[in-house]
Amino acid sequence: MTVKTFFYGLIASFGLPWLVMLAVPFGTMRSMEAPSYDEVNDERTDLYQPTRSGRTENGSLIYAQEGCAMCHSQVTRPTYAGMDVFREGQGGTKKDAERGDTRRITNAWDFSGENRAHIGESRIGPDLGNFGNRLVALENEENEKAAIAMGIALEREDKSKLTKQEIIDALGDKAFNKELYVYKHLYSPRNEGHEDRGQENEWSVCQANPQFFKKIGNFGQGASDAVAIKCGKQVVPNDNCRAIVSYLMSLKKDGAVPYAMQYSKDKKKAGK
């Protein structure tokens, strides 16, 4: 083996996989066109566009920098690679009151608005791909519980159910506060000192995040998003905390997809 043949071999053996695994997929995936709905199966004809709201980009950055991806994944794998889709709440909900079966695998458009897809290193903590949806489900559940406890009827006189917003309006201040729930989790994942939610997360190994909170004076009625009172001061979330919570609440990967992408679904439900 001469030095010359060695180099040719080195360049060829490195160059081919470099092109096939890295450069070409990188160059081509950026221009991957979104599929469109089709008239027959989806009863609509526009382009598929998963919508997200919230501080996706900088929330995602903070999520990365704080290393949340070390313990949390954000992917629902197809059945050839795992049973994720069958885990309740991970890939969607089996029986959603309004949308039916919303379970689906993660697709390439689910990470829109982020620079990097946080697939995750391990699942020491739960998968967060559908955290936003689980939070909404929890909100509804908690609000209904609170309404029952307060004696608010969940049905109107004509037996029709109250909408979620109507329940929230009826509850007023007592309505479940999603943001505050996540703030409290980030501040104290095992709920120490939160009598309202008890010790239900005692098993959790999530890290407390004091870096997301600041102390402010305890004035007037107090801040609505204070997570604790410490040394006579209120502990409130800082801007990074608001960004990451906004990002976490935007994690919803169960939206309807065109029939072409999930043909196993019932045709009529595919587009709805």
């Binding site: 990188f26 920098q65 069958f86 695998i105 390439a108 990470f111 407390a208 870096q211």
Partner: protein, 506 residues
């Protein structure tokens, strides 16, 4: 008498080479060992916090999300890269029989490298939204400017080894030189690709491909930099210490090309099931399985060569570590193949197995070979002998215990048990966390073993650096050659042997 003249000149040349590289090589080894200790402390904190989350919870800089990337970064760029640099420049000079004429530049670049690693680690630990924050991506957690600076610094360290090769004496190119030369070129290619595709082109590509390129980078750095450097060291130490030629030279060349052809395809199996093209996921999984081929070639060659002189195996710390490294390579690739089988990935993709596998590769294979090389090189460049054979022996056994524990208990058993619980649809997350508990404690225990071993190694190395090593009973290389040593022309093992016997007598 006339026949001895070339040998004397040869020994003189070797002594000159050693002297010319004394400072940079010692600097790389000593600072690398210190970073290994830092990395293990960070690893212990990260691991402890996965089973006792309120440990050190007063300060966010100790959170797993920060200590974990900091731990891996210091392990890779602090210890791994620096140990590799030390071995590369020394081995390349020795095998090319050329003195290093730019050791000052290498030393300065080494200092700059350390400064960058230190700043990078601090950036990772201070967390989000600062002037320079870590990226949170394991293996590439340092901020972009730091990664670019590291790549540029590498050039000033590595180029002199390439020059030494180009102006080499003698015609035959030894297998270690091929491995080193390949590593010298692969490293910048991988670094540049990694930095470009997952840091500079951020926002310019599909978010999934950015993540996938990081997955490829990790695997490529392991297979195409750490592996060839460790292999080069093993191919040097085993024949040198045993005094026998390599068992099969053609098998060694075959192993090299098998590595070069298979290695760059691996990595994307970490993206199994994500919406990237599925050929990439399965091709990489296949490559990860095929990595067994170069591993077996290396393993068979090193073991056969070392076994040809069983005495040296029992006396030489260098050979002992190198043989352990060969076993480590086999374990690493077999474990890697096992957990990368598409059927098994279902369980292992998000379990502790992946992290455990990286630790097995870096600590059980690469570090073992590096320890072997360091125990061989340091007495030559400092002209002193290691102080205590028992310390070396303890370093060896504690490292072996720690790594075996991590490989078998945490990676294999823990990985599959954790993954199995994760895959049980009806089980809540709580069950997986509960299942992980004993394995997380196991990892902390393994790390504690390794930290004690590393502490002893660091102290020993520091004393050698301060030139407080034992003054050799054969002060010059020339005289050493006069001894009918079983360990080759410059074996220092006779002294260790006497040390061993002294130790046992005491």
């Amino acid at each position: 008498m006339a026949t001895k003249i070339p040998n004397i000149e040869d020994a003189q040349l070797r002594a000159d080479i050693d002297r010319s590289l004394r400072h940079p090589v010692m600097f790389f080894f000593a600072s690398g060992a210190a970073w290994l200790a830092v990395s293990l402390v960070l690893g212990i904190i990260a691991s402890a916090k996965t089973h006792s989350p309120d440990f050190l919870s007063c300060c966010a800089c100790f959170n797993v999300g920060r200590t974990m990337p900091a731990h891996m970064s210091t392990l890779i760029y602090g210890w791994g890269a620096q140990a590799a640099f030390g071995v590369i420049i020394w081995l390349m000079s020795r095998l090319s029989r050329q003195e290093c004429k730019k050791s000052g530049i290498i030393l300065a670049a080494g200092h700059f490298w350390n400064l960058m690693v230190a700043i990078g680690t601090l950036c990772v630990l201070v967390g989000s939204n600062n002037f320079m924050s870590g990226t949170g991506i394991v293996w590439m957690a340092f901020p972009k400017p730091i990664m670019i600076a590291l790549a540029a610094t590498y050039f000033l360290i590595g180029i002199w080894a390439v020059i030494a090769f180009r102006v080499r004496r003698g015609g035959h190119i030894y297998i270690s030189q091929w491995y080193l030369l390949a590593a010298l070129f692969w490293f910048p290619w991988i670094m540049i690709s990694g930095i470009l595709f997952s840091q500079i082109y951020l926002g310019d590509g599909h978010p999934l491909m950015v993540t996938a390129s990081t997955a490829w980078f990790r695997s490529a750095l392991m297979f195409l930099f750490f592996t060839p450097v460790a292999a080069a060291s093993a191919y040097y130490i085993a024949p040198k210490v045993s005094g026998r030629p390599v068992y099969s030279y053609s098998l060694a060349i075959f192993g090299f090309w098998a590595l070069a052809i298979v290695g760059p395809w691996a990595g994307m199996q970490r993206m199994m099931g994500t919406p990237i093209p599925s050929f990439m996921q399965f091709l990489s999984a296949g490559a990860a399985v095929l990595m067994i081929i170069p591993a077996i070639a290396l393993f068979v060659n090193i073991i056969k060569t070392a076994n040809s002189n069983k005495d040296a195996m029992s006396y030489s710390p260098s050979l002992r570590f190198t043989v352990a490294g060969a076993y480590g390579m086999l374990t690493f690739t077999v474990l890697g193949a096992l957990i990368s089988l598409p059927g098994a990935l279902q369980y292992t993709q998000f379990s502790t197995a992946q992290y455990g596998l990286e630790l097995t590769g870096l600590l059980g294979f690469f570090s073992m070979c590096m320890f072997g090389a360091i125990y061989f090189i340091v007495p030559r460049i400092t002209n002193r002998e290691w102080i205590s054979a028992s310390m070396i022996s303890q370093h060896f056994w504690l490292t072996v215990y720690g790594v075996t524990f991590i490989a078998l208990f945490y990676t294999l058993l823990g990985g599959f048990m954790h993954g199995y619980t994760l895959e049980q649809v009806g089980e809540p997350t709580e069950a997986a966390v509960g299942r992980l508990y004993p394995y997380a404690i196991g990892l902390t225990t393994g790390f504690v073993f390794l930290l004690i071993a590393t502490f002893m190694f660091c102290c020993h190395l520091l004393l050698m650096w301060l030139r407080l090593g034992r003054r050799s009973s054969h002060p010059t290389l020339l005289a050493r050659h006069a001894h009918a040593s079983p360990h080759g022309p410059e074996g220092d093992l006779d002294k260790l042997e006497s040390l061993d016997s002294n130790a046992s007598a005491n």
